[in-house]
């Protein structure tokens, strides 16, 4: 990401802050600041990369409820400063939203983050927000998306219509960052199918409803793919790089969860056209929770999901024929301690990804989080191959206010 774009964002944030000064008396501030340390177990592939990375994050949140109504205004800027990687040092407006609540409908205007889906191992259906990939390779951190969203809320379900102006490019680690492709991705040269490029207006529609134990969502998206293809090229110095290519796509999505007793049954499926051959992908499985395990008040969840993509080995995703199994331990203690461990196993090769996430509150205001990821056995054709030296342990201490 260019410095100018970073600065622009910073200026917009500063502008937004000033514009809100009058509001600020009536609303409330919350949010967090955190310190993060990443340690990599192996020497890097490239001499530019490092073994350890410190970074600091701030994400304040301003919320103002308009008196006498259900309407609200929310502003959530985000900034990270990374010790080594200027691409990971970035700022964003996660939310700058005005919500207007009417009779059986809502208008939600501005920059927002939202989530669609039910599965744990990957989020196929979730398409509105661009992934903030420099934040985490789990694809769960998102950039704010400008939108006009109208929600119609009826007995037959909720219908959400979206007009999405202002495309956000995916963030990628810089040359000094770990957990990146080799060669690196050069975001400066990103290209688009649409002649309007980032100004192409995207559209989406989603219907969702809950019927007894079933939660169902159907969605349709037309616009610039959030997931770019990465094409080989060279940078200004003649060095090889990968260049993001953003195609115009149609994507239909289905997400279903059946909740019954201790069982959660989950399915997400998509069909996408416009990005090479039309393809389908799906994730399905279950989560079963044992309550009060080991004679304690802890809950233990067992998660199993199958990940499928009909492009098979031609898919740019590592998950075409993979199985994820995981355990989720919820301590139900005062500190809200949680542990999630999982492994994704490629059924066609020896590739395996291990994942551990744990967190615990310290006192009333601090939270300590630990994340461990490791990658083994990926053949050179697997997209995960690029992370073969990037096993890491991450510790984060956050102060909430």
């Amino acid at each position: 990401m260019s410095l100018t774009r970073n600065l622009n964002l910073r200026f917009s944030i500063a502008g937004g802050l000033m514009a809100m000064a009058t509001f600020a008396m009536a609303g409330e501030w919350s949010g967090f600041v955190s310190l993060e340390h990443q340690g990599f177990f192996h020497l890097p592939l490239s001499p530019e990369q490092h073994r350890t990375y410190f970074s600091v994050v701030a994400q304040p949140e301003y919320y103002h409820r308009i008196a006498g109504t259900k309407d609200s205004f929310t502003f959530v800027p985000f900034v990270r400063a990374d010790q080594h990687d200027p691409e990971r040092s970035h700022a964003d407006i996660r939310e700058l939203t005005w919500i207007k609540v009417g009779e059986g409908h809502e208008w939600r205007l501005g920059i927002r983050k939202l989530f669609w889906g039910v599965t744990e191992s990957q989020h196929l259906v979730d398409i509105i927000n661009q992934t903030d990939l420099v934040e985490n390779i789990d694809l769960e951190e998102k950039l704010g998306q400008p939108m006009v969203n109208f929600a119609l809320i009826r007995d037959w379900g909720t219908l959400n219509a979206f007009v999405l102006p202002g495309f956000r490019e995916r963030t990628f680690p810089g040359a000094e960052g770990r957990l990146r492709t080799s060669p690196r991705v050069d975001t400066e040269q990103a290209s688009y199918e649409s002649a309007r490029q980032r100004r192409h207006i995207d559209y989406a529609l989603r219907w969702s409803n809950s019927i007894s134990g079933w939660d169902i969502g159907l969605s349709q998206f037309y616009g610039t793919s959030r997931e770019p293809r990465l094409l080989p090229g060279v940078d200004g110095n003649g060095l090889p790089v990968l260049i993001p290519r953003y195609d115009l796509i149609h994507q239909s999505g289905l997400d279903v969860q059946l909740t019954e007793g201790s069982w959660l049954w989950k399915l997400e499926a998509i069909r996408r056209s416009g990005q090479g051959t039309t393809f389908s992908a799906a994730t399905g499985g279950f989560e079963y929770t044992f309550t009060g395990v080991f004679g304690t008040v802890m809950d233990l969840g067992v998660i199993a999901e199958y990940l499928y993509d009909n492009r098979d080995s031609a898919a740019p995703t590592p998950f075409q024929n993979d199985v994820m199994v995981g355990l989720r331990l919820t301590a139900n203690d005062v500190q809200s301690s949680e542990l999630l461990v999982g492994v994704i196993d490629d059924r066609r090769s020896a590739a395996r990804s291990f994942n551990l996430e744990a967190s615990r509150r310290l006192g009333a205001h601090y939270k300590l989080s630990l994340e461990l990821r490791a990658f083994t056995g990926a053949p050179a054709t697997d997209p995960v191959f690029v992370w073969r030296r990037d096993d890491y342990l991450q510790l984060e201490l956050a102060r909430y206010f």
């Binding site: 919350s30 809502e106 809950s210 909740t259 009060g292 809950d299 509150r361 009333a364």
Partner: protein, 259 residues
């Protein structure tokens, strides 16, 4: 009403009971108490939870609760967490049902994700407290079988002592012994027995107040766990009955913008 304090009112006794079995008399008491609390419509309230461990160390949570009475079914409720700060904005939407499983959705603001959660967690601690989800949920008559035990003088009041047995197989209890005291037929105490039928916890109500000239709510509910030595004090404030809540305040859209 029933959310949270539901326990407080569910068991008002009919003063005159004809010759009947202990089971019939227990059920009649439950029915009458439920009838007495009908018609509250809706309410909002604030709650502070003070969690204390065996060593006396305290930890505080703050929540806001909205409840809507639903005719012919269990109540709907929306609980928003304000404290501790890392869970601020987290919200829980519950549709209680007289029979069958309750429906629960949890909104996680950091991910913007709504998760439908399994109702089998009902025996689990609510926010790490000594209250289980089933203790704070809507106390529908149909969720228990009943048995009248005896009359007893408790803290200077004339009380019925009845026992109730959870119908749901996911309940953490074999039985609960409930003291309902005259002259106003308010519950004063519950002893909870765990799955091994050992005394697990005792809940007592303190500082009752009457709202709308009819509905009794306690300022404090104190739960002592006899096995772990931990306790939780719930302090209620700012009750507003008939706050004008409607069905539209209890759906996915309202859950996401609850905070």
């Amino acid at each position: 009403m029933k959310y949270w304090i539901g326990v407080a009112l569910v068991l008002f006794a009919a003063p005159v009971v004809l010759a009947e079995t202990p089971q019939e008399k227990g059920l009649a008491i439950a029915r009458e108490s439920d009838r007495l609390d009908q018609g509250f419509g809706d309410y909002t309230a604030n709650m502070e939870m003070i969690l204390r461990n065996r060593q006396g160390e305290e930890s505080v949570r703050r929540l806001r609760i909205s409840t809507l009475e639903v005719k012919g079914d269990g109540d709907k409720s929306l609980t928003v967490f304000d404290d501790p700060a890392d869970v601020k904005g987290t919200a829980l939407l519950t549709f209680t049902h007289k029979t069958g499983e309750d429906d629960q959705w949890l909104y996680l603001p950091a991910l913007k994700r709504v998760k439908r959660i399994a109702s089998s967690n009902k025996s689990g601690p609510f926010m790490g407290s000594e209250f289980a989800y089933e203790d704070v949920g809507s106390q529908e008559i149909e969720k228990y079988a009943y048995k009248y035990l005896r009359d007893e003088t408790h803290e200077g009041k004339q009380c019925f002592v009845i026992e109730r047995y959870p119908v749901d197989k996911y309940s953490g209890y074999t039985r609960q012994m409930v003291w309902i005291c005259q002259p106003e037929y308010r519950p004063w105490k519950i002893d909870f027995y765990d799955r091994k039928d050992s005394l697990l916890k005792t809940l007592v109500w303190r500082g009752y107040r009457q709202y709308l000239g009819k509905y009794w709510r306690a300022d404090e509910m104190f739960m002592q766990n006899h096995q772990s030595g931990k306790s939780t004090l719930l302090k209620w404030s700012d009750y507003r009955f008939r706050a004008g809540l409607r069905d539209a305040d209890f759906n996915e859209a309202s859950l996401k913008r609850a905070r």
